[in-house]
């Protein structure tokens, strides 16, 4: 039976960092190693041997190196756990041990030094009864009017244009071709364009003049500066022609007042205005609440005296930069540009990493202090919400989250939401002056 404890020394003299020294005598390592070989031999299958009957000596010759590595990893795992338990440490992340350090000493023993980044100890500043001024502004009649107009435009029905052709509020289904020296270099079909929505690179004034008054089957042209993304290299940035073939031109006819009331299920203009005003007020209140919650949390992050462990901060910055690099590779950015941009972004990534880590530690500490725990039921409810938003089953969503290790991330987000709500409820919101 292998020993359950290992010889570890933990140096916690540095804040936010524990230095762990692990030392395994040769006899103990050998015993563990032989045990591991026996264990492996029980499961391994090899030609010429019945399953589980391969002699450990043969296993050692064929797989010894790997088994030895596994034994070392097991010792490191035990030492890590023991260091945490015996010294009551709260780790910030798992220790990173370089591969080359995982080697047996000349005497057959195993010793290793590694570091554990610890959650820094800090005091939360006063976070209850925070005074914050509301910036909620009343909804003005003009805003209500503008929203009704917007709704009217959105619910307009297309009707074929008359003799006067495409007008201000019209819409045309067109095929658009960019020509360079008479040859098409870019073609798009079935675009829905209004006279105020020119394709990129086309002068709005010229486009409006070209398209105004057009009817079905007409072809109009206007100048264009050919965009940089077209395939023909020599044409990029040059002057060309934009040829618009109008397949169908429509006038967008807005609904009458009565039709709009019926569509929005209200009885008259006054009821419509009341409904719109309520909706606008509701949206403004939600925006304001989000702003206050974010401001309170930001204030708490700023006021908390908290020193982050440098290695951890460095690691988080690198992770952010790596993600950024992967994103740029996906977007097809050339490698030399990526390198330069990453260097430019390093400082920003560091600031973001610092803010993110500070926020996480503060949210966790506040959650713990106030007993704001995330329960299994709340996680299930969130999974149900996501499932209904994406019109899929809860099982599918759960499987995706479990497979991608996102459950923990979700519980952190839920905790942050609870903490923000708690800060808001505890704050003293002053009326706007």
């Amino acid at each position: 039976m292998p020993p359950s404890t290992v010889q570890v020394n933990v140096d916690t003299s540095e804040a936010s960092l524990a230095k762990v020294s692990l030392s395994i005598p040769p006899e103990e390592f050998e015993q563990e190693y032989k045990g591991a070989l026996r264990k492996v031999s029980r499961n391994v299958t090899m030609k010429g041997f019945r399953p589980g009957k391969v002699p450990p000596a043969l296993i050692e010759k064929r797989m010894g190196e790997q088994v030895q590595k596994d034994v070392m990893e097991e010792f490191v795992r035990r030492a890590y756990k023991q260091a945490l338990d015996e010294n009551d440490l709260s780790p910030l992340s798992h220790p990173r041990v370089p591969n080359e350090a995982m080697t047996r000493g000349e005497d057959g023993g195993f010793s290793l030094d590694f570091e554990i980044s610890l959650k820094p100890k800090f005091e939360l500043p006063e976070y209850k009864n925070q005074v914050i001024e509301s910036e909620l502004e009343p909804v003005l009649p003009e805003q209500v009017e503008a929203t009704i107009e917007q709704l009217r435009r959105e619910r307009a029905t297309p009707e074929p244009v008359g003799d006067e052709g495409l007008g201000e509020q019209g819409m045309a289904v067109c095929d658009v071709a960019f020509l360079y020296e008479g040859e098409p270099v870019l073609e798009r079909t079935g675009l829905r364009l209004g006279i105020h929505t020119p394709p990129p690179g086309v002068d709005p004034q010229a486009f409006e003049e070209a398209l105004s008054g057009c009817r079905d089957e007409e072809v109009r042209e206007c100048p264009v500066t050919l965009p940089e993304y077209i395939e023909t290299e020599e044409a990029r940035g040059k002057e060309g022609i934009c040829r618009i073939t109008v397949n169908e031109a429509y006038d967008l006819v807005p609904p009458s007042d009565e039709e709009l009331w019926a569509l929005l299920e209200v009885s008259d203009a006054e009821a419509l205005e009341t409904r719109i005003k309520e909706k606008l007020e509701e949206a403004a209140e939600k925006r304001e609440r989000d702003r206050i919650e974010a401001a309170l949390l930001d204030r708490l992050i700023e006021e908390t005296d908290l020193a982050l462990p440098a290695p951890m901060l460095e690691e988080q910055t690198e992770i952010r930069l790596r993600n950024l690099a992967e994103e740029m590779v996906r977007q097809g950015v050339p490698p030399e540009t990526i390198k330069d941009q990453l260097e430019e972004q390093r400082e920003t990534a560091r600031e973001d990493a610092e803010k993110g880590m500070r926020a996480l530690l503060i949210v966790e500490a506040l959650g713990e202090k106030e007993g704001l725990l995330v329960t299994e039921d709340e996680i299930n409810a969130e999974l149900e919400n996501i499932a209904s938003r994406n019109e899929t089953s809860v099982e599918e969503v759960r499987k995706y989250y479990v497979e991608n290790g996102l459950i923990q991330q979700m519980s952190i987000e839920l905790l942050e939401r609870k903490v923000r709500r708690f800060l808001y409820d505890q704050a003293e919101i002053k009326e706007p002056s």
């Binding site: 010429g48 041997f49 019945r50 009957k53 002699p55 043969l58 010759k61």
Partner: protein, 96 residues
């Protein structure tokens, strides 16, 4: 074929099996698959020269090839010769 080539050919295929491992543990014997025409004397000489060990006994046996059938066609794997070479005390071979 030179005598050196022949020697290496004789010891080129150790037979690593559960039975062979037990024989190795019990009486320090190593098993080899040798050509059908190999005799005990040349096997002993080959093992002693190639591995630099002392051989105390060589036992050989002819192993019948197993019958194999592929659909309608019946066949048989070739016969082969197994040599069990016992080494003197303190002598070992690293056959892997």
């Amino acid at each position: 074929m030179s005598s050196i080539d022949r020697m290496y050919r004789l010891v080129a295929r150790p037979v690593i099996t559960e039975k062979g491992s037990m024989d190795q543990a019990d009486r320090n014997a190593y098993h080899f698959r040798v050509p059908l025409d190999a005799n005990k004397v040349e096997i002993r000489q080959a093992v002693e020269r190639v591995f630099g060990v002392k051989v105390t006994a060589v036992n050989t046996s002819r192993v019948r090839g197993k019958s194999r059938r592929r659909g309608w066609v019946a066949g048989q794997r070739p016969d082969w010769k197994k040599a069990r070479v016992t080494l003197g005390e303190g002598h070992t071979i690293d056959v892997l």
